[in-house]
């Protein structure tokens, strides 16, 4: 009998050690992410916020910290500067300014893009400033502010390619980031409430990659004939010396917004409202236009559907 008990205990210990491993990790102090952080003004939206409300905005204001997710694989929106070890880009600047106007500092989280768009963040981060397109599907699990800018989407081909227009893509393979809006567009399933799109190029085969960067590499190594991505991203790659060229004018522009988790256990409504107000304010006082000029060389913060 004695030996049986001993063995059962062993199995129990196995289960416990798993839990212990989990605890041990959670207790580890989270190292601050090497990112740009907004200076606390102590004023901003938090000055007016009801800190006793117990909702997400109140929590952020009393901690003075807002956790923002970013995927640093998308220059010029968000990428890592290896020299400084900090994140930089248009989204990074926008997020920093939003935090500034809230009166909080930023703590960066870098979850996988799929984890951000899937919602159900489990309180790991409070807000996503990640150039996210407001699709009908995403709106079911996420709350959005009004768009903070409108990114044009383009197709690119290899430098010196014989393909000269979207019509020439018939029978060709187009590389794209899997599960992103361009993927949906090429498959003909993109649905953004209030926006109309041209039909995708006819006769193409779509090939999905983990990020745009990998799709660009696939173009260079001849695995695809063309790639589709955000025009600024393609332009940034061309500027960094990748041998590719834009194919004609952008196909469409899409609205990009700040996102929040609908399933958050702490009420996020007042935070969505506060950040929406800040985004409108940044549109109004030209802050967004200035940032757009800085990172994209043109102002793409104006809604193309209204002018």
């Amino acid at each position: 009998m004695r030996k049986f008990r001993f063995r059962s205990i062993l199995v129990l210990v196995a289960a416990l050690s798993l839990v212990a491993a989990a605890c041990g990790g959670d207790d580890e102090p989270t190292e601050p992410a090497g990112g740009a952080t907004g200076g606390t003004t102590g004023t901003g939206a938090c000055a007016d916020a009801d800190t006793a409300a117990g909702d997400l905005l109140a929590q952020i204001c009393s901690d003075g910290v807002i956790r923002v997710s970013t995927d640093p694989a998308y220059p010029p929106q968000s990428s890592l500067n290896p020299e400084t070890g900090e994140y930089e880009g248009f989204d990074i600047d926008v997020a920093t300014e939003i935090a500034n106007r809230l009166g909080a500092t930023i703590e960066w989280e870098t979850p996988k893009w799929e984890a951000i768009i899937a919602g159900n963040w489990q309180g790991r981060w409070d807000m996503s400033v990640g150039s996210m397109t407001v699709t009908a599907e995403r709106a079911e699990v996420l709350d959005f502010t009004p768009a903070y800018y409108f990114t044009p989407a383009s197709i690119a081909v290899s430098e010196g390619s014989e393909i000269s227009s979207a019509d020439g893509l018939d029978g060709m393979t187009v590389g794209v980031c899997s599960g992103c809006t361009y993927d949906f567009f090429l498959q003909g399933s993109l649905d953004i409430p209030g926006f109309e799109f041209p039909p995708p190029p006819a006769g193409i085969t779509v090939k999905g990659y983990d990020t745009d960067t990998t799709a660009f590499q696939a173009l260079e190594s001849g695995q695809v004939d063309a790639v589709m991505s955000a025009t600024p991203t393609i332009q940034a790659a061309i500027d960094k010396g990748r041998p590719m060229q834009l194919l004609g004018e952008p196909l469409f522009s899409e609205p990009l917004s700040v996102a929040f988790d609908k399933s958050s256990e702490v009420d996020q409504a007042s935070l969505v409202e506060a950040v929406s107000g800040i985004v409108e304010e940044m549109h109004g006082d030209g802050t967004l236009s200035d940032m757009s000029m800085e990172w994209y060389g043109e102002d793409i913060t104006i809604d193309p559907s209204t002018g």
Binding site: K3, L18, P72, W108
Partner: protein, 338 residues
């Protein structure tokens, strides 16, 4: 062993006169030490690689500039691998005892554990632990604190996932190690009236570890490369290991090939270092079991070479060969700790 015979058979029939020349060459060649010939082969391979590298026109300036940044991930690569192997060893020991147990619960649980974690891809397990676990726990209606506990940081999720996965593979290693201990040993322990824990701790496990340690070292080396998968879980820069850092610099400058070559070089150097120590450790452990007392140094060398030729693959055989001389003077070292 079959390959050289086939080769010889092919060349023999038409080579009436050339045979003499071939013999001359092989006799001359026999005088050149094997080590030297292997070294020449390696040098030729590296020259070809260098030529290809040059021809591919990679951005070497970029690689030099970013090497420092990527190399900073080494600490986390090693940290993840060490923490995971510790967890894996604990799980493997428990798993092996469970597999050898006659208790249906212990046997069933360890059987399920080994089957599931060996039967699903590591990357899938890592995603499940990172993303599915919190959702499942959340839907169970358990207290909030419990949910937060199981919402693992990617770094911790990586360690847990690697530990669970490798622990499952190592369960078999540990089981085989324990079973390799002669039955007479357990019988003797029983005859002395030892309890099960006493028997395991004092008699079986110390002998089993001689068999277990070398393959565990191999698993550790394999695991160091699999830490790269943690990069897919979205770790922050401060905790990023080599591959994640390579991904980041690849994205920032649109230079994936250069960045991944950089990472490949670092992993290779890292595993080469550990493989070297691993082979030394292996020989040290087996030292007490090699009958070296009556054989001459030359016989020992021959024995050792045939053993390494039979068992060694790739660089392993070469490595063993290089160290043979030291091994000849082995008996004096017998009994020294490590």
């Amino acid at each position: 062993m079959a390959t050289p015979e086939v080769g010889a058979g092919e060349t023999r029939p038409p080579a009436q006169r050339p045979q003499g020349r071939m013999e001359g060459i092989s006799q001359a060649s026999a005088r050149i030490p094997f080590k030297l010939k292997v070294a020449v082969v390696w040098i030729v391979i590296f020259l070809v690689l260098a030529f290809l590298f040059n021809a591919a026109d990679f951005d070497t300036q970029f690689m030099r500039d970013r090497a420092d940044f990527v190399l900073k991930g080494l600490t986390y690569t090693i940290l993840i691998a060490l923490a995971s192997i510790v967890l894996a060893v604990v799980l493997a020991l428990l798993g092996a005892l469970g597999r050898l147990s006659r208790n249906p619960v212990a046997y069933g649980v360890s059987g399920f554990y080994a089957s599931f974690f060996r039967g699903t891809p590591l990357i899938v397990q890592l995603f499940l632990i990172t993303f599915a676990l919190p959702v499942i726990v959340g839907n169970l209606g358990l207290p909030q604190s419990f949910e937060e506990l199981l919402t693992l940081d990617p770094f911790v999720a990586g360690i847990v996932g690697l530990g669970l996965n490798y622990g499952a593979y190592m369960t078999e290693i540990f089981r085989a190690g324990i079973q390799s201990v002669s039955h007479g040993q357990t019988e003797a322990a029983d005859a002395l009236g030892m309890t099960y824990p006493q028997k395991m701790k004092r008699v079986v496990l110390p002998q089993a570890f001689r068999v277990i340690i070398p393959p565990t070292g191999n698993e550790f080396i394999a695991m160091m490369k699999d830490t790269a998968l943690v990069g897919f879980l979205g770790v922050v820069v401060a905790q990023a290991e080599i591959f994640r850092r390579a991904q980041l610099v690849a994205a920032a400058d649109f230079k994936p090939i250069e960045a991944y070559l950089l990472a490949a070089g670092m992993y290779w150097a890292l595993t080469a270092v550990f493989t070297f120590f691993q082979s030394r450790l292996e020989r040290r452990i087996s030292k007490g079991y090699v009958r070296g007392g009556t054989t001459t140094a030359k016989e020992k060398k021959a024995q050792f070479m045939s053993a390494s030729a039979a068992g060694g693959a790739g660089g392993g055989a070469g490595m063993a060969e290089i160290d043979t001389e030291e091994d000849v003077s082995g008996p004096e070292l017998k009994g020294q700790g490590h």
